[in-house]
Every structure is written in structure tokens, then in C-alpha cells.
Amino acid sequence: MIQSIDYFAIAPPLILCLVAGLVLLLDAFLPHTPRVRPALGFVTLGGIVAASAFLVAQAAAGRRLGTFCVPADLAASPRPGVQPAGAEPPCSFVVDQFTLIFAGLVLAAGIVVVLLSMTELATGAIPVGEWYFLLLCTLAGAVTLPASRDLVMLVVALELVSLPVFALTALRRYDGRASEAAVKLFLVSIVSTAVMLFGVSLLYGMSGTVFLADLARALTGPVTAPTVVTVGVVLVVAGFAFKIAAVPFHSWAADVYQGAPIPVAALLSVISKAAGFAGLILVLVTALGSQIGTWAPILAIVSALTMTVGNLLAMRQRSAVRLLAWSSVAQSGYILAPLAVQRPEAVSASIAYLVIYAAMNLGAFAVVMLVSRRAARNELDDYRGLAYRSPAAGLTLAFSLICLAGMPPGLAGLFAKVVVFREIVQGSLGWLAVVMAVNTVIGLYYYVVWTARLFTPAPDLERPVRLGRPGLATWAAAGLALGVAVLFSVAPQLVLDVAVLSASG
């Protein structure tokens, strides 16, 4: 053994990968009966739960786990100052608070997505085994990414998150819209990867290392060519901006969300986005913390633009999924805002918002999934009177939307916004706070209008949307998301406290 590997540390992604392989094998050898489909889903669920269990164990262990560290004899860097003597050799894979939060978020969202896809797959239009396999691969990437502490691992993990999603999007193979969505997602994503990689290459050139901790050390103090670093930072930020659908790289979001199967849209809006933010935070805060003067103003502008454009576009939508897509773009803007504050502690506000956003957005997607099975075009008008036809679905959606809007009784969203506002105000970014305030109102408008639609009786709907029996799985997904959102509403300190601890070390 050349390297000693801490299998406990890498257990979650490892399990996910193994279960992915298992699912593929099961799919190949089991007969293709309708009964197998949910069985594979349960295997997938089991894998995610097992991974989560290890995550819990890691959290209980309470110490920072690092593995795949640089061998001691190679650790010394050729460039002075990068690797001070006596420092611990940098590790590629680190499990700390930051990792745990993001991995936990991803796995919980993964459970919801799997539950949603059990309904989506029930009809047999999509090959089941491959679907779950790809889903698990994405999850593995998304769990690995926040643990990555070097650029190589980060790039590979980000690609592991993205690439299976392309295939997942296109997996409804005879649906022109799904293919179209996939092609758009694919092109945008690979271009963004290329852009980001160019930035990474410049950073590597300036620092001579790919480890984030070393990068931070190398870029502190006077840098020989600050412009190169600046351009590198800008390119890296641009690359990640694609992933989180920030303006000006947002245009793919609505098209892709609408064309993709709804579970994939949910995945994109939560898991992919979480991965993107994890990467962004890791690179910016951990590695480029010294360059905060460069990227914080950029992020402030990007954040303001993102929330404004997202909200303005969302306001015009008539399609539920498109509205959610643009609204999630706007929410990305809110999540970005604290990062623009030139204080490292502000990161925890972003993380808290992201976690809460995930819960409420998944709740909304679950109900949209329920409705989409009955309403062909899934427009907002199809939701008229939903609260009377199906009180559970209607109330779940209403709560999720109100949460997203950030008003009581959706306290989770409100507190998330308050935290973000607090960071901005304390960081004396007054103008951003005002922009966000205006945006909050715009957002409230369309969320509330949608919510109101749930409670307006449908005037003899031409195609009354009845919720049939869309499967227990989707209900379970909706219930799970709703439960978490309610939990965060009552006890937001769960996420706030945890996030405070993790200074993303």
C-alpha cells in the first residue's frame, strides 16, 4: 500500500458507488417486471441511507478526518513559502463540518429525488437501472465535492456531479424536449467547465500547487503577477456561476428545468446547485481568501443581477416549472449575497440559506410532480383550487411557496432571509441590501400569487386536474420536504448553529 486510506472517511461516496454498481447488476440480472422498478428504488434508497448513516457516524466522531494526504517525502513544495516546514501535509479528502453539512444536504435531497423518481419511473418510459445508477453517481460526486481539498479532485468531482445529469436529463429518449434540454445543459456545462479549468490553470501557474490550503498560503501577501490571479479568479467564478445559474450564465435554467423530468429538475435545482456552491465556497473562501478584495465585489454585482433577473423573469412565467426555475435562479442570488460580504464568517449565512432553500424547494417540486401527472402542461392555472381538491398537496405547496417567499408562517424562509440580510447589513453593503429588499418583494409577489391560486376555486376548469394516485413515493417525498421545512421553521437554530461552527475549514 503506497498510501494509507481512511476508509471510514470515504465511506459515504464509496457506498454510493458500490450501490450504483449493485443497482446496475441487479437491473441486468433481474427480470424486467413492473415489480422490479420499485425494488431498485428501494435498493437505491438503502444505499443513500447507509451513506447517511456513515455520515452521522462521522459527525458523531466529531473530529476532522483527512485522507489521501500527500506523502511526506513529496510534501515539500519547490516554491518557498508555499509549504512551510513542519506543516501537516495537505490532504485531498477532508471530512469536517463543512463537508458534513453539504454531504448531509445532498443525501437528504437525494432521498427526496429518489422518491420522486420512483413515481416518474413507475410508467416504464425510462430505463430504471440506468436511471438509478446515474443518480447514484451524481450523488457520489456531490458528496465527494465538498470534501475535496485540491483543485484536481474538485474538478473531477464537479464533473462527476454534472456528467450523469446530462444523461439523466436525456433519459426520456423519445421526448424531443428532454433531448433539447439535455443538449442545452450539456453545452453550457462543458463550456463552463472549460472556462473554469482555464482559471484553474492560471491559478496553478501562479501558485505551483493545486491544494487549496497551499494555494491560500501562496497567494497571501504580495503576489508576483496580481493581474493573472485576478483573471484566474474571475474565470473560476465564471465557471461556477454557470453551475449555480447565476447571471449572466443563467439562461439555460428554465429551458432545462422544463424539458427535463421533474426529479432531474429538482436534482438540478438543489443537488447540483449545492455542489456548485460548495465548490465556489471552497475555492473562494478556502483557497482565495486573500483575494477577497477581487472577488467579493464581483460576487456582489453578480448576486444583485442574479436575484433581479431571476425574479423579473419568474414574474412573467405561466408554467410552474419555469417559474420554479427562475425563482431558483433568484434564490441563487440570495445565497450568493453573503459571500460578497468581505467577512469569512458570512459564509455560514450562505450555507444556512442553501440548506433551508433545499428543503422548501424540494417541497415545491414534489407537489409540482404530483400535479404534473395530471395536468399536461403544468401551468399555474392548473393549480387553481388545489387546496380544495387535495388539501395535503395544496397546503404543502402553499407552505413551501410561502417559505420561499420568506414570510410567516413560512418562518424558515424568513429566518434564512433575515440571516442573509444581517450579514449584508453588517458587512455594510447597503445597496445590496436594498436591492435584495426590492427583490424580496418581487419574489413575494409571484409566490403569493401562485399561492393564492391554490385557494381560488377553479371556475369550471376545462381540464380539471385531479390528483389521482401518483404513488406513495411522491407523497412521501413531499412529506419529507415539508417536515424538514416545518422543522426549520420552528427550530432554525439547527442549521444556523451548525453553520456557524463551520468556518469552512
Binding site: A352, Y388, V418, V419, F421, V425, Y445, F455, Q493, D497
Partner: protein
């Protein structure tokens, strides 16, 4: 006793939560249920009144202080002092009365939204209970963020009250309401966060005690402007008021009552509780502006009222004027002014609540609240309703001896002697303008009364003439003169049933005397009138005042549909029950203002104590 405040918030909340139980779907118990929950809340608030220690009303009592969200520094901190106590009771009372209005009676009348066929009674009860949680919570919260949370809790239920149970233009009105108030809330939140960022605490008591220590003047001004805008939207202050007339006009009766009676108070309460004590320097800097806007609001409200034709809209605009007095009182930054503001708050809550009840009753009877169409002569046709309306209007215009007087008087008086540091000349001007506004207020109420309650009931006479002349459907030819005068008549298209035959449109030519006579005789069914109101109330059971209810009319009551001359029922029992407490309180508070002032004065002095 700290459980008292918690239970004040928890009882309606639990009541709302229980509504989710499937068993609550049936309507029978629902009416009793709403009444019971709000009644329990009212009882608790009365218990609060009984056990409140009036000797130290300056301090918050019944305090609860628990940590809620440490990450945000948010504490669950409740307490009640002399300022908030009357408002809490007012809230509980008005909510209870709304439920009385909704739940008593037969439940078939149009104003009673719990009717079996009117859709979603459970949702309405739920909404109102949540509304109550938010309102009471706002008044008892002693943590800035908690205050904000409760402040916001109110919005969504109110939105739904307007948007679902409102009138024809409800969609626009509701959206306007929520957009305005939301924008205000967000600005308010920013202001609160600014205070928080500067002082590091959210505790109102502590902040009020500090009196702005630790905040630079510029910061205070900025925070005061932000918080002030947020609260002023809710109040509403003059340039930010445009949501209010629509919302009040389109909201159902109970919505209007709570909106005017309680929700507007949340804004002024916020000024008294947060903006002025916590940010004294900011308040001193902005107070002249506040006063200016206030008097503009007074005059503007009065002038706008003069131009209104819709009764509800007029009352809504009158609220703007009254809240102008409140703001003027606040702007003086003196204990007298604050007292005036708090007093006017309560008085306005009682009076305007009652006025909206009345307007709702009129609207359900006549199918419109347009004053010209009411035709005048209400004192003749509906003597009880007319007299209560007159009484309330007198109270509202500030007749000495009724509740409305003291607030206005004290506010104007305090403007005579504003706090040191404020430009006295300016405030004297404010006082003068405010005085003019008060006169105008009297003017429009009197105009309204002359249009509605006094005079000959033109409408009926016109109807009979026209109908008799040509056998026209009522309202088309009949009101030719009025149609020319007032433009088209929307309610005609919307609500007038097609008459069955030429005869059905014939109405009695009734003058003032005739109407009285018919009422005395109790002669019903003698002459057909236009069928609209009768069709709306097939089962109406008009009780004439108190004992008259069963005095013999009921025996001879014909079968529905009953085209009688008593086609417009006078005050009914549930309405009477709902209104009597307000009528009494308006008088009591008007006669003994000290009752209220004694409670608020120490608290006001404590809040302003350290002001320079």
C-alpha cells in the same frame, strides 16, 4: 402569571391548528368553535386586564423570556405594559365581535360568511384565528425580530381574507395591499437589522432603556427612516396610503373591521414602541417631517372623504385622516402627544370598527354602499341602523363626550407645545391645519349623514314613479334622473334580478311618513317592491329593536319570498350583539377618558423619560 401572555397567543394558534382535524370539516360545530376560541381569548385578555398591576404600568408585566433561536439572537420575549394592554384587549374584543357577527344568527345572511353554501367556512375561521395570533403577538412582543415575525404573520391571512371573501375588485385590492405592506415590511426589517447591527441586541426593553445610546445620529436617522417607512405603510401615512381605500372597500365586513380596527394600529404602535423610544435622535430629526405628512394626511383624508360616494371608501379615507391625528400626536414627541396617539388609536379602533360593521350591514342590505344609491332617509326606513350610524359618525367626527374627541383634541393640544428641540412655529402651523382638518372631518361626516340617514328616501319614491309609469324593470327607467347624475349603476347589471313581470317592479310610493307608518303597522306583504333584497334574504328574520323582535310581526310573517315593505331588515340580533359592546365602549371611553389615559401615561413617560 407569565403563562397568560403565552396562552393569549397560543389559544388562537391551537384553535387554528385543531381546525386541521378532519372532524372539524362539518359546519355545525364550526360556528360555535370560532366563537369559543375567540371568546376564550377575550376572556384571557380580560383576565389580563383584571390582574394587571396598574401601579407599575410603565414596566412590562407578565414577561416571558426564552431563548428561541440563538443563532439569530432571537428571543421569545413577551410582555405587556400600559401601552400594549389596551391594544391587546381591543384586538381580542374586535376579533370576538367579528366571530359574533359571523357565527350568531342563522348563518344565512350574506354578511355571515359561515353560511353553508358560501364555500369555505373552515378556512375563514382558520384565517381569522391566525390573524388574531399575529395581531396579539405584535402587541406583546418585546423582541425586535419577534415583533417583525408577528407583524408579518398578519399579512397572509389578511391577504386571503381580502382575496377570497372580498368584493368584486378583490384581486387587485389584495395584491395592492400585500405589495405595499410587504415592501414596507422589508424596509422595516432592514431598519431593525440596522439597529441590531449597531447595538448588538434585539431586546426592546433594553433598547428603550438605552435610548439610542451606542448609535450615531446618522445611523439613528437612517434607521428611523427605514423603520418609519415600514410602519407608515401600515399606518398608513399620507403618501403611502393608496393601498388602504381599495383594501377596505373590497374586504368583507370582518376584514374591514379588523383591518381598520387593529391592523392600522400596529403601525402606530410600532412608532410608539420602537421607533421613537429606541431612536430618539432619529425621531427628533424626522419628527417635523412626520408631523407634516400627518397633517397633510388629515386634510387629504378629509377632502378625499368629501369626494367619495362609496360609504366604505369614505370610512377608509376617514381612517387616513384619523391616523393623521395619531401621527401628529406621535410627532410631537411629548407624553401628551403620545398619550393622544394611543388614545386616538383605541378610539379609532372602536369607532371605525363599528363604522365598518355598519357599512357592511348597509352594503348587504342595499347591495351597494354607494351613498347616492342608498337614497337617503335611512332614519326613516331603518331607524335603528340609521341611528347607530349617526351615533358612530358623531363619535368619529370628534363630538365631545364620545371617544373620538379626546384623541383629536389632545393631539392638537400637544402640537401646541411640542417637545423641546422641535420647531414650535412649525407645529403651531400643524395644529392650525389639523384644526381645519378636524372641521373638514366634521363636514364630511355631516354630509354623509345628510345623504344617507336624513332626508326623504328618494330611491324608493323614484322607483315607484318610474315603475308605475312604464312598468319598467326597476332601476333602469326609474332612476333616470339619478343615472344622469351619477353615471351608470354597476349594481344594476350585476345584481338586479330580472323582474318576473311588469307588476313585480311596482313599488310602494313611500314617503317618510308612509314608511314610518308601515313599520308601525308592521304591515308586510301589502305592496310588492323590487325583488332583489327579498331574494337575497329568503329567511330573513329582522328583529326590531330588542323587545320588538317578537312583538307580533313574527306571527304574521308571510312565507318567503316575502315581498314586504320591511324589505330591508333593520338591525338583527347578531348584529346587535356584535355592536353593543362597541357602542357602549365608545361612550364609556368618551366620558371617562381617564380610564385609558391612566394606563398609558406612566408607560409613555417611561418610554420618553430620557428624551432630552
Amino acid at each position: 402569571m407569565s403563562w397568560l401572555l403565552v396562552s393569549l397567543v397560543a389559544v388562537p394558534l391551537a384553535g387554528a391548528a385543531i381546525l386541521f382535524a378532519p372532524a372539524m370539516a362539518r359546519r355545525g360545530p364550526l360556528r360555535v368553535y370560532g366563537l369559543a376560541v375567540s371568546g376564550l381569548t377575550l376572556a384571557l385578555s380580560l383576565l389580563l386586564v383584571a390582574t394587571f398591576d396598574y401601579s407599575r404600568s410603565a414596566q412590562p408585566q407578565f414577561e416571558v423570556d426564552r431563548e428561541w433561536i440563538p443563532g439569530l439572537g432571537l428571543r421569545f420575549h413577551l410582555g405587556v405594559d400600559g401601552i400594549s394592554l389596551p391594544l391587546v384587549v381591543l384586538t381580542a374584543l374586535l376579533t370576538f365581535l367579528c366571530f359574533v357577527y359571523l357565527c350568531w344568527g342563522t348563518g344565512r345572511e350574506p354578511g355571515q360568511l359561515l353560511a353553508p353554501d358560501s364555500g369555505r367556512p373552515r378556512a375563514l375561521v382558520f384565517t381569522l384565528l391566525v390573524l388574531e395570533v399575529g395581531m396579539i403577538g405584535t402587541f406583546v412582543a418585546l423582541d425586535l425580530l419577534l415583533f417583525f415575525v408577528f407583524f408579518e404573520v398578519v399579512l397572509i391571512p389578511m391577504y386571503f381574507v381580502i382575496a377570497i371573501w372580498g368584493g368584486a375588485g378583490r384581486r387587485t385590492a389584495a395584491i395592492k395591499f400585500i405589495l405595499y405592506t410587504l415592501l414596507g415590511s422589508v424596509v422595516l426589517l432592514l431598519g431593525l437589522l440596522l439597529i441590531w447591527a449597531q447595538t448588538g441586541t434585539l431586546d426592546m426593553v433594553e433598547l428603550a432603556r438605552a435610548h439610542g445610546a451606542g448609535m450615531a445620529r446618522g445611523v439613528q436617522v437612517l434607521a428611523f427612516v427605514a423603520v418609519g417607512i415600514g410602519l407608515a405603510v401600515k399606518t398608513p401615512m399620507w403618501p403611502l396610503h393608496t393601498w388602504l381605500p381599495d383594501a377596505h372597500t373590497e374586504a368583507p365586513t370582518v376584514g374591514s373591521v379588523l383591518l381598520a380596527g387593529v391592523l392600522l394600529k400596529m403601525g402606530t404602535y410600532g412608532f410608539a414602541r420602537i421607533a421613537i423610544p429606541i431612536l430618539p435622535e432619529g425621531a427628533a430629526a424626522v419628527a417635523p417631517w412626520l408631523g407634516a405628512f400627518a397633517v397633510v394626511g388629515i386634510v387629504y383624508g378629509a377632502l378625499a372623504c368629501l369626494a367619495q360616494r362609496d360609504l366604505k371608501r369614505m370610512i377608509a379615507y376617514s381612517s387616513i385622516g384619523h391616523m393623521g391625528f395619531v401621527l401628529l400626536g406621535l410627532a410631537t414627541l411629548t407624553p401628551t402627544g403620545m398619550n393622544a396617539a394611543l388614545f386616538a388609536n383605541i378610539a379609532h379602533g372602536l369607532i371605525t370598527g363599528l363604522l365598518f360593521f355598519l357599512a357592511g350591514a348597509i352594503k348587504t342590505r342595499y347591495g351597494t354602499a354607494e351613498m347616492p344609491k342608498l337614497g337617503g332617509g335611512m332614519l326613516a326606513t331603518l331607524p335603528r341602523l340609521g341611528s347607530v350610524l349617526s351615533y358612530t359618525s358623531y363619535a368619529s367626527l370628534g363630538l365631545p363626550g364620545l371617544a373620538g374627541f379626546w384623541g383629536e383634541m389632545l393631539a392638537l393640544y400637544s402640537a401646541f407645545q411640542p417637545a423641546p428641540g422641535l420647531p414650535r412655529g412649525l407645529f403651531l402651523a400643524f395644529m392650525a391645519i389639523g384644526g381645519v382638518g378636524a372641521l373638514l372631518t366634521a363636514a364630511y361626516f355631516l354630509v354623509m349623514l345628510s345623504r344617507v340617514t336624513h332626508g326623504v328616501p328618494r330611491r324608493r319614491a323614484g322607483a315607484s314613479q318610474g315603475a308605475a309609469a312604464a312598468g319598467h324593470p326597476v332601476g333602469v327607467g326609474a332612476h333616470g334622473d339619478q343615472a344622469a347624475e351619477w353615471g351608470d349603476w354597476p349594481w344594476n347589471e350585476a345584481r338586479r334580478p330580472v323582474p318576473a313581470g311588469p307588476g313585480s317592479g311596482v313599488s310602494v310610493a313611500e314617503g317618510l311618513g308612509e314608511a314610518k307608518e308601515q313599520r308601525e303597522v308592521g304591515g308586510r306583504g301589502e305592496a310588492p317592491v323590487e325583488g332583489r333584497p327579498a331574494a337575497e334574504w329568503p329567511d330573513e328574520e329582522p328583529i326590531d329593536f330588542l323587545a320588538e323582535a317578537g312583538s307580533g310581526d313574527s306571527g304574521t310573517r308571510p312565507e318567503p319570498p316575502r315581498p314586504g315593505p320591511g324589505d330591508l331588515p333593520d338591525i338583527r340580533r347578531y348584529e346587535l350583539v356584535a355592536w353593543t359592546p362597541l357602542i357602549v365602549l365608545v361612550l364609556v371611553v368618551g366620558v371617562w377618558p381617564k380610564l385609558l389615559l391612566a394606563v398609558t401615561t406612566p408607560a409613555v413617560q417611561a418610554l420618553l423619560g430620557a428624551t432630552p
